[in-house]
Symmetry: D2
Subunit: 354 residues, 4 copies
């Protein structure tokens, strides 16, 4: 396992989906920060499973209990630990997956990796639930960044092939009318919701893309060759469950661009500050921030858990089998992943900034 991430801000995640608790230790936070628990709780609530009509029945309260690193409401500079107790620990639902591995899940690969000893209940340590403490850790980092004038925000960019509108303005955070389903354009959001409902009715799932940006991040941050801004962001975000791709600025579209169109021209703005006329680079040059918004997009696959029957094998009988995963399944994890992406981005940016 490698459940620790970061150079200066280091987070150590732990827990299995149906074990006693999940949580995080955050090492290296600056001392003396008064935690804004309203901000932090609002952020982590956006990830909570009960927020969407199509959510799985499991509704964990997800209240992190802080057991170290905070004194009189302020960070001590010592490791901050938060524990989320698992209240829903029914394991019977998952027992049959032990012998019929679910396609797209870590059932088979995890068995190989841990010699069959890993906790299979609810995907154990591979569960999306482990993003709850990561989101909490990111909420603290977002608050510290906010104190320093850096805002991190994200939105649903695309679900089931339906795209949100282009962001009209380069220099402001996303304006999100409905935080429960974060798109810039609510009409497009409604189309996405309909597509999700449709997938749900078919006992299927849909994937999507999240776009995130950081505004106000100072220029001159990043550590080439290997701790470039993009490298660090890619490392943490490609650790999130179900991610299949990441792109910065113009992203894969650069493959169809000319250099003369793609380079961001440099000019002096009205107040004599160095600026760029465009932001195709997504806020970095040479892996170092240039003061423009840092922008990225992340692709999430459709949830692997679906109720439709799927081809698999039975490990006991060593014969072909069909997985029939009845019950409710989350047909789209993308909306709930928005605060997770924000958190991961905030952790990486604060780690670079410290």
């Amino acid at each position: 396992m490698s459940s620790i991430w970061g150079n200066k801000i280091r987070i150590s995640l732990f827990g299995e989906s149906h074990g006693p608790a999940i949580g995080v230790v955050i090492d290296g936070l600056p001392p003396g920060v008064t935690l804004d628990m309203a901000f932090i709780n609002a952020h982590i609530n956006r990830r909570a499973p009960g927020n969407y009509p199509w959510s799985t029945e499991r509704k964990e309260p997800d209240r992190p209990e802080i057991v170290s690193g905070v004194y009189n409401g302020k960070t001590c500079g010592t490791p901050l630990t938060a524990i989320i107790h698992n209240t829903d620990t029914r394991s019977s639902d998952y027992s049959k997956f032990n012998n019929t591995p679910r396609p797209g899940h870590a059932d088979l690969t995890g068995r190989l990796r841990y010699n069959g000893a890993n906790d299979p209940r609810g995907s154990g340590h591979f569960s999306g639930r482990i993003t709850a403490p990561l989101t909490f850790a990111g909420a603290i980092c977002m608050q510290i960044l906010k104190n320093r004038g850096v805002s991190v925000s994200a939105r649903i960019f695309e679900i089931a092939g339906i795209r949100d509108i282009d962001r009209p303005d380069l220099s402001t955070p996303f304006h999100i009318p409905d935080v429960a389903f974060p798109t810039v354009d609510t009409a497009r959001g409604d189309l996405m919701k309909a597509a999700i409902a449709d997938a749900s009715a078919q006992e299927d799932s849909v994937g999507g893309i999240i776009e995130a940006l950081a505004i106000g991040f100072p220029a001159g941050i990043g550590n080439p060759i290997f701790d470039k801004v993009e490298s660090r962001l890619a490392a943490i975000i490609m650790s999130l469950p179900a991610t299949k791709g990441i792109e910065f600025g113009r992203g894969f579209d650069v493959a169809r661009a000319m250099g003369s169109q793609n380079n961001d021209p440099i000019y002096l703005d009205n107040e004599g500050r160095i600026a760029r006329r465009s932001n195709h680079a997504g806020g970095t040059e040479g892996g170092i921030s240039n003061g423009m918004p840092i922008t990225l997009r992340v692709a999430f696959k459709p949830a692997s858990s679906i109720a439709r029957p799927q081809e698999t094998i039975n490990l006991e009988t060593q014969k072909a089998d069909t997985l029939e995963a009845r019950g409710r399944h989350d047909p789209c994890i993308v909306p709930r992943a928005v605060p997770v992406v924000e958190s991961a981005m905030a952790i990486a940016l604060l780690d670079l900034l410290e």
Copy 2:
């Protein structure tokens, strides 16, 4: 700076484009490996600048001199160091960039990051030249992987909007008729070459996408949460100059897929081995290898260096200025980047495997 990468195989890159030398220290190589210098040299020659008609005039021989870690032709287990002496150290060409930063380059951001002390000649440490020792390190890792039955290969997937054909077969390495311009289909390759020549005639540049795959990588490798296969590959590949995105398996296209189509069904093949009917996941589930080919694509922006005039500022006069970067420029770095991507992939995979 953070010029060190890896957990078990750790590479430490050094050097400036026009300083005395560039090179790499590779720590943690297994002892007793007889180096196949023909294989290694063939690999690094594919990156050499002189291989393409449109290459910049600079033609460095790029002969790595091994000064430690090898005894009687075998790795010792101690740090293997290779030095490439820079023979072309003219610095006059670059002097003017000091005051007129090039859009898309690290001229401005590097100045901020290193308080103006970084070596500006030929982009210094930010130069693509630093990929030469990385490619050497990767060649050794590729050889070691080959000894263990793992092949790493890559191809040009797209340049200037022109795509190579789909790979016909999931289970074999790329068949590349022309290693000097690695596409599967030479006719598509010719169209790409024409587009590059066209860009060159316009004193402009074009970007592209490289696709890479590893075949034979054993199942059960990868260290969730943060050292997943994808996370490690993304981290090293997004450190390469000019990369703007990475995707695994089906990649960003998952945003338009249904779960029932995207999950790779599990079955037992004729010989009773566990296999998948498709490889949308790109060889991993839950961040751990599943025995299928590991596949990825990387987007490279068009080279920032172009001869066409560009809008910039003059840092001395603090006024608007125009950059006129006369001379020859590489209109497309994608073909030369193919062995670099292979090397980076091999380094990350061997690091995970050890």
Copy 3:
């Protein structure tokens, strides 16, 4: 802060003495190990404060609650987390130390390091209490080492200038008649106890030396230059509170030895195995284990907390002051530190061995 240690087995310690809880996350444990809770609890109980007549009144039960990483009594391979809730959280005893820093403690240096934000109650994160979760983590490592034929044991070597007898035999673990006061010779132990009682009567404290050894550790382990056996052991052991020195094998006495006496002659034993006639080196050559017992000694200063009046300053009045730390204080931490040293040694050795 840097509360994370290790390369392959990584422990992440957290908690303040009077906060809600202390604990540890252990990342990288091998999967499938059936935990021997009787062994583990017996080990950690040796560190518990209530075991000695001179102990401070505080008697925490120190029952680690395992909340992740164990399934059906076996390690999962995922992070194993243990939490120890603090039951005695009276903080009034320590309030006055805020203004009159205790000599020898981190009161002043911690204030500087954390800008005054650190938790001062009971030394907060600097408290010796943080060795409880470390001892727990080490108990698991000791058990895993034991499964592989490696025993780790330690004894009180010296307290208040009184030495235990020489170890009669090079190749067996310490024979300790009284685990509550671990010396080889009980008569010498009684003299030490008398010295401790005497110091206690004078409201003073005494220091000492612990000797530890690992038997059965395989030859050929260690990673020069910087992850040598000695280097790793020194790093973790010099992190323990109150340690002031460490030596291996013959230790500082080598300064008075000749090479011809100090080198350990190599010979073939009766069964044809390579052996050494002596073990002045303490089980390593060139930083790599040689199959002989790994031996070390650690010096612990007398506890800084004493009831006698001490010269200090008042930070509020910025004037000279006298610290009168009435109440009971632990006059000698050395006996309780024995299992802590064993644990630290086991963590470092298992980390090297994995």
Copy 4:
């Protein structure tokens, strides 16, 4: 191997004693530092083998060639690489050691660790020669510390049981009359020289102790729990060849001290600054610097290489054998190790300070 050390200042050492070259890559140096090559060369010359009458015949010039990371005489902030070419590469002297491993050397353990593939010539990577690039790296760190008001200095504290005099003053660097044999008292130094000459005449060797101190190191530096000042210093110094122990401040003598004598009383000096009346702690409390001089002592064993016959085995014949290592051997490495200890201390302190 693990030839990389450091968190912020990271050094990567490479090279074998009789390979083409040895050297170091230093990552993370602050940019813009004008290197004082006179200072640096004077420091590394103190380590050079030719400085002592009893030195081995091998006299390498040890001129580091800087090939990266310096531009116009200043550090760039990019990795600084220095290469020392080996000029004396006779390997015949060492061939016979292949079959008759030298007691005290890594001949046997290195063979096990690297499966027999390590370079055996002149101890290869285990040679004391690898301390040459480390000393160079440390010289740069010493210069940067000096620029910030921190002086690092060391002296021979004891050789062959003969001690230098006590340091008269707590607050000033060592006054060393003869840098070629750095003791405070030259008469004691002469006695040590006589003991070395005596050992040499007997074809034997002697060990010793080096004392080092850093003055001017700011208070409030150090990262408990695991990156304490002592822990980091112990880790790097116990990586140096032939070290067998390290102690801080009063060191092992604390085992004979009472707390009331050992605690360093806190007072306000004439200028109102917080000070300590003594420095038994050696400049740290709770692992964090307290503004007093940081003091340590390191024990070096007598050189393992001696000309006297020694008992060993023959690995080819698998029989007992006698090693007759004729020729000149260095009877005492302690004087030459003084600048090495200073360098290691400077690297660790700058790494903590950055």
